[in-house]
Amino acid sequence: MSKKIAEAAAPTISPVIRFRRWFGRNLIRVYMFLAFTYLFIPVAYTFAFSFNDSGKSNLVWKGFTLSNWQNPCGAPEVCNALVNSINIGLIVTVFSTILGTMIAFAIGRHKFRGRSTSNLLIFLPMATPEIVLGASLLSLFLTFHINPGFWPTVIAHVVFCISFVVVTVKARIASLDPRLEQAAMDLYANEFQTFRRVTLPLVAPGIAGAALLAFSLSFDDFIITNFNSGTVITFPKFVYTAAARGIPAQANVIASGMFFLALAIVLAGQIVNRRKAR
């Protein structure tokens, strides 16, 4: 209302000034649009080229086809790599979430001697470049004559995922009001019941977030995997190796599929959270 009146009262403003005012008011929106465009360009490109009727090398646009989506395992090895990545990711998620959550509870809920040393031990893997983590584990395996492969890769992934799980779950525990646990004890819940009925349900979203993070870190990891997986091909490794001679469009299909799946999981989680809060 008031805006209309102001415009009506000043009819002689030049279009240049009007544009400048609009721009000033919407600068942040313009910026956000540009930033998100930048973030999504390669995603859009990958998605678009999943429909390319490309043959072997998916470099140039040759025409639209749905055949890649109808037959995502059409290229040799690609689905094998995907299955490996998912298997590794699931095992890593289970182990790193359990171990990391236990550590997070110890650090976040208890005062004990060696707490700051524990914090340092959690920080160190995050402060170590992946290539050093990968290389050092490989040299350990070589020293003990263990061949790189599936399980060494799982172990290597758990090492770097634990820290991220600890940090995520710890933040959630820190935001918990200690009076809620006291209230549960006051209302006849013993230590175990308090943990099961109050603490765990309240920390659960943090643990779920940490598990999702662990899976995506493991699924997308290349450097550490490359050092420790030996002959086992994971999806990122497949793409990296294929990059030299041309990546099949099926890889784009799988990457796009994973993108939409993950997006759906996160959005569903948000909706569930909002429902619960209502």
Partner: protein, 382 residues
Amino acid sequence: MSFDASSARGDLILTRITKEYGDFKAVDDLSLTIPKGSFFALLGPSGCGKTTTLRMIAGLEEPTIGSIHLGETDITTTKPYQRPINTVFQNYALFPHLTIFENIAFGLRRRGIKDVDAEVNKVLNLVELPHLAGRKPTQLSGGQQQRIALARAIVNRPALLLLDEPLGALDLKLRRQMQIELKWIQKEVGLTFVHVTHDQEEAMTMADTIAVMNEGKIEQMGSPADLYDNPETAFVANFLGQSNLIKGTITGNDGDSIIADLYGQKISLPKNRSHAVDNSMYAGIRPEKFRISLLDTPVSGNVLTGGRIEDVSYIGVSTQYQVEMPWGQELMVFEQNDDGVAPFNKGDAVNISWAPVFTFALRGDEDITAGSEVTPEDLDEE
């Protein structure tokens, strides 16, 4: 359940409780009996040890020395969930992931009570919020959350209900309303309520008995009227309402009265209101007990002459005066605006008078500023 509800009922008895955190004594050799069925208030400024005392009764802290009994049962070291005691937490601590119904049912379910639905509905009706059973705590207003926190505790019919600054988060008007409601609910359910607060008005409105705490000890305990009319220490005199404390000397007796000399002027006061241990004393008079009169007006009772009005503030129901006395002290006087007499003016030469029965006497070695610097509105917790 691990406690036997029938035997663990009765008076709450704290015996020589001390709680130390390192070198700091939060509670210092405190003994206290809270009679069954009473509405008891622990009143004091931040850091006086009242919340620590409450947490020890709840079982959230263990005393360093001393014991806590509920009736015949020693509960000093039992776990919070083994005590027939429930707490209404400051800021309520409602479980955000559970509905209102499940919040209230929480204690019943843990105790294995059969008819959860009926109990919960009954208590929801008591607090007049049965329509909110399916909501989540974040969807409730502050006043509603407060009532649910209360319902969640009393549904368990504890031997003792602890209230930790229960009204601190509410605005003034709602607080007044809840004070009356709490008092009514206490009568209705007949439980022992122990109420911790820094708000003297709240304590006086609701409690039968108030214990005023300071630096880990109980300064004085009694009914609200007792504490107000006959404070034993300067801390109580200043923390509960305001007091004029005038230095003096006891010069003699007259039957049930004591005669004292205040800067050369004689006054009398009842013997049973004197807490002086020797001749030196402070005479204490509440500001609303004073009457102001012009020099030529005849007055009776105790009189102090030679005053001069320094400041006048009109606040509706009353007018507040600052009167400077010949010895340099400024006395505070509240006059009701109910006699149709025009207020006095700044600079008027006046006498001050009051009935001897409204005088109390404190020891002469008291720190007369004790309890007056703490702001009652201070919301900080210890």
